[in-house]
Symmetry: none
Subunit: 413 residues, 2 copies
């Protein structure tokens, strides 16, 4: 089965946004065993969109269009696709009701006339509810060709794809494709790839593909098999081998499990509670941990201490420590973690202090220097990092490294 992607949006052609949807959809389709040979981007232009869609339908079985489903006159994806398939549009009562419901739940949520445009769907199309926005997804099938229309915003397209499009596509592929993800932290991409290179080379079923994420390395192991049981027989030996290679670095063997999930699970398992003390990350670390539903079981409170005075008053960092070693030091990170645990009466704590940039760096303490402190059951550890990104990137890395240090400490606890 050959799939092709068309991203619709002048903002992509102008370079206003990076086309992350295409990367997301490509990875998903590859994981489902679909071949993808072409991707295109066109603007919100009727003639060019039509031409691009016709070409795509000629050379591929399934065309996934994303974007251009909004309420404005600019948004043409649905209209053009209906035209190409020779379908007329009608107002779908169910979708109209869903849109009305969506607006009634919003503050100042007034439906304007153009919103009803989103309730118009091509005859015969399958309507896929959007649980995070107004534009529905649409699946149109005809003469062995399929067009799948999805909304552009990443927070709408991703949940819709996972929930409704994956099962739909899975049904189309005769041999099942099964994959498992092995996720590592605390190891570099090239080192991980070098270690696994013999596996990467020889394998055709299952295949092993590396994906580098910020501070993490993921390996997707994909098998073609008649059923899940056969797939497991193919995949399991590879995972066992990777555990022998990387045991200490593997935090998950499932697509869905994030590093913060792994951390919260360990906290629960060991009956620990956590608190956080953040300077340069200023809440991003806590914010990420608390994205885990139910994390409230292991987390009650946290501290954002940007100023030295706050570090002293809220966390009990010693005045002399700040004077002698500075706010960005292993000693301060250690006292932050210790003080936070005491103040919050928590059995585990993690702290971050550093220079995110662009200002504030010195020869001795350059931009990107970050210390993480971590305390579990009274045992304290600190780590020094030197990042080389911009402010946002340095803070993002600091969060991942702090999570990694915490995960390692929890594994040993």
């Amino acid at each position: 089965m050959v799939v092709e992607l068309i991203s619709v949006g002048t903002e992509i052609l102008l370079g206003n946004i990076v086309n992350t949807n295409a990367a997301y959809l490509s990875e998903k389709c590859a994981g489902l065993g679909l071949s993808c040979y072409h991707q295109s981007v066109v603007g919100d232009n009727e003639g060019r969109l039509e031409e691009t869609l016709r070409l795509a339908l000629k050379r591929s079985d399934i065309v996934i269009l994303s974007g251009g489903l909004g309420p404005t006159k600019d948004d043409l994806t649905k209209e053009v696709t209906a035209k190409v398939f020779g379908k007329t549009l009608y107002e779908d009562a169910h979708t109209k009701e869903r849109i009305a419901g969506f607006f009634s739940q919003m503050r100042n949520g007034q439906v304007t006339e153009n919103n009803w445009k989103q309730a118009m769907v091509p005859e015969g199309a399958r309507v896929v509810d959007n649980h995070n926005g107004t534009a529905p997804g649409l699946i149109i099938e005809e003469n062995g060709k399929t067009a799948i229309l999805l909304p552009g915003p990443p927070n709408e397209i991703k949940p819709m794809f996972e929930r409704d499009i994956v099962p739909y596509l899975n049904n189309l592929v005769p041999e099942g494709i099964y994959s498992k993800m092995v996720k590592l932290c605390s190891i570099g991409e090239s080192k991980a790839e070098t270690l696994v290179s013999d596996l990467l080379e020889g394998q055709s079923n299952p295949t092993i593909a590396p994906y580098a994420k910020t501070g993490e390395v993921h390996f997707r192991i994909t098998a073609r098999a008649a059923d899940e049981k056969e797939a497991d027989r193919l995949i399991e030996p590879v995972i066992r081998y990777m555990y022998r290679l990387f045991g200490d670095n593997i935090f998950a063997t499932s697509e869905e499990v994030t590093l913060e999930d792994a951390v919260v699970e360990l906290l629960e398992e060991k009956g620990l509670t956590l608190t956080t003390a953040e300077s340069c990350t200023a809440g991003l670390l806590a914010g990420r941990i608390m994205n885990v539903a139910g994390a409230s079981k292991v987390y009650n409170e946290g501290y954002i201490t940007y100023s030295n005075e706050a570090k002293e008053r809220l966390l009990g960092v010693k005045h002399e420590t700040l004077e002698s070693f500075g706010a960005v030091s292993a000693r301060t990170a250690s006292e932050m973690a210790e003080g936070a645990a005491k103040a919050a009466n928590a059995s585990a704590s993690v702290s971050v202090t550093g220079i995110a940039g662009p200002d504030g760096g010195t020869g001795e303490k350059p931009v990107g220097l970050v210390y993480v402190g971590c305390q579990v059951n009274g045992k304290i550890r600190t780590e020094e990092f030197r990042f080389t990104g911009n402010r946002a990137k340095n803070r993002e890395y600091a969060v991942v490294r702090a999570l990694t240090v915490l995960w390692e400490q929890l594994m040993e606890a």
Copy 2:
């Protein structure tokens, strides 16, 4: 002049990497006044690359190809382009020397036989030196059509584009392109577009394009003009008109300024200091504000109070308030903001309490119910929101709405 981009690489089709080169090249080309109507991605496949290039040359004046210039047999971009233009390849002595020099400067730098493939160039092509890698850039002109071949790695393509391709393209375009961004919060996309629809309709120079972001609406106003002064003459009246329409909702008229930038600037301007008290967002709000470099001037500390006990102890929320109204209530949000300001000795504060989901909702207080409290110079305001996303989205919206309420309060202060 119409430009078109072709990105060559199987790794993009598989979703292993995000196509940031396309975003980079698009933005650059738009800035140079080139129109871009099409972008494509193809793998390292001779037939498909040839077909894609022929189509691109038919509909566009300039085709920029990136990637596929490496030393391996897989890399075909140069060979296919030479074929399409009917050119043979010859070994370019200058490039061969440059490649040899490149390797001699590297540690362990051994030229392997296949590296000399990169010294082969099409007859008549202009060779563009690569100062950060081995593959040269190439410009091939024939019959009013131009193909520009650039290496794939971002650290090679960007400096080469800035240094040699920008001047080349600049020579081709008579008029420049200038744009300004008007950014609004506290208003829905469709409402904003409805209000501005007459402007959107009639304009051809400048053009006005809307962009929806989470909780924000951006309008890009783009003019074609001989110079910046003429562009300003075209753009300024539109901005003045938008101020009449949206004055209270406009927080920035510049591409670079974010909502948190606007908030921090107002705090500085008015000599105020800020603190935060977060429950369901658990640090994300503070984390976003502190992404503003230099925000430490207006922010010393913040509180993450997930448990009721933490709300009472750290922020002085009354026990009776939590008992009678619950943790997710306007009253609690208000006491959180008030208490945080007192505890941090800050003149402004913002608080968030809500039910992010997926659990914890009730009939009376459903998932997505969020209260924001905001206090500026002793004046308190609370707002109720009902979001309909998943946990991550509800938290993201809560952050933007809290920033918006704070911005509004600061504007009035």
